[in-house]
Amino acid sequence: MSFQVMLQQLTVGFGQTLLIFCLTLLFSLPLGMVVYFGRVSKFKPLSWIIKAYISIMRGTPLMLQLLLWYFGPFYLWGMNIGNYKFTAIILGCSLNYAAYFAEIYRSGIESIPVGQYEAAQLLGYNKSQTFFKIVLPQVVKIVLPSVTNEVITLVKDTSLVYSVSYIEMFALAKQIAAAQTTVIPFVIAGVFYYIFNFVVAWVMEWFEKKLNYYR
């Protein structure tokens, strides 16, 4: 197999990696906010359930969760899972990452001094105005470095979908390496991951700078 064909194959696989990455972020970033609100809810049972949810999501391997999401419906209800693989992957990744994002949001929101809330109240802001106009814009700035961390981890975690036999870049690299008895595909895959993460880090840094208008 020529280097060019390898590159071409891995580029196709990278498309799959990218798709999983984008969809997971699209769902988990907002979902994390919902989970956060559940976590700090005054309604205790809800907050306990969400706490247990976060604990399980963070406390078990993502690979195991993916296996459960994919094969679980069959073992529990005998559902035909022939065309359900991709949904299971996005579901598993999104729910897992939402738990992490929720805790990151919490760290950001709880770091806002009480004085800010008091000042907002004094100025006649109601609760939702206070949150969206005063608190949230500051939180975004605070949590951005932690979110960048998670996003970069997600890029690399996409390779875990191999456990449910979904063929993305890393699985393809393994297959090519096996057939050609060479390690070159791994090197190429590594370069792909690195370049992509470099871009992610660069974009996030650009965001940080853009949001840095008070300094």
């Binding site: 197999m1 020529s2 064909v5 071409q8 194959q9 984008c22 969809l23 699209l26 296996l67 094969f71 069959f74 073992y75 035909n80 899972i81 022939g82 065309n83 693989k85 991709f86 949904t87 191999y162 456990s163 449910v164 036999s165 063929i167 699985a171 393809l172 393994k174 297959q175 090519i176 390496a177 096996a178 057939a179 050609q180 008895t181 390690v183």
Partner: protein, 278 residues
Amino acid sequence: MKKKTVAVLMTAVMAMGMVSAVSVQAGIEDKTLIVGFDAEYPPYGYMDDDGEYTGFDLELAQAVCDLEGWELEKKPINWDSKDMELNSGSIDCIWNGFTMNGREDDYTFSDPYVDNSQVIVVAEDSGIDKLTDLAGKTVGVQAASAALDLLQSEEEGGQKELADTFGSLNEFADYNTAFTELQAGALDALAIDIGVAKYQLNSRGEGFKILDETLNTEQYAIGFKKGNDELCNIVNADLQKLADDGTVAELAEKYEISDMVTLKASDDTSKDDTAEEK
């Protein structure tokens, strides 16, 4: 700007939903044979130089599908979850150098088509010449493989006693890593199928050898979900047809496993005739 991005992403999600809906409909017609295989298992199933999945088993599966007018879907699976894939119906069969011995109770098997032994591969200069030399050595074996079952079996013909003499038995995920580890000295020996061993030694060149003493003799067959006799019988009949018309022998030659294929024409003279015609 933001709205636009969201719109594009939503469209992409919807498009994917539609694609999967279409494939659901195709599944109902039941004209697709979904073959599950380990795409890291040359020469039986692997990715060829053009990036297509091929191999002895996959071409044979294609030939069966051509006979029946079925569509062949080649589905690379993670070998560790092959049972879950098969039981849940996301694949119709495991067709990929699948050892039947010791697994007879778990699957409905086709007639065996390849005779396969488990052998030991060592580095040429390792000084290991027979099985007893492996005492105290680090031996590698693929996770969830027939070789591993064999080395853990205490039944008649099992090699648990031999495995107990090893320094350690390390499980690996794929052959490529295993051979690199063998080369690098992290492993002293590998317990693998002879077909795979030959393929690896051919493409890797010097430096390795296969021990003359084998661990056992085994057979490859196609594994169907337990009780799926209907599909199994159709495939069995087709395999015999393909053996009779010389297709099997041709493929065996192409993949250099002629001396291992046991699926022969039912009448030997007829096979010679076809050979002469060609």
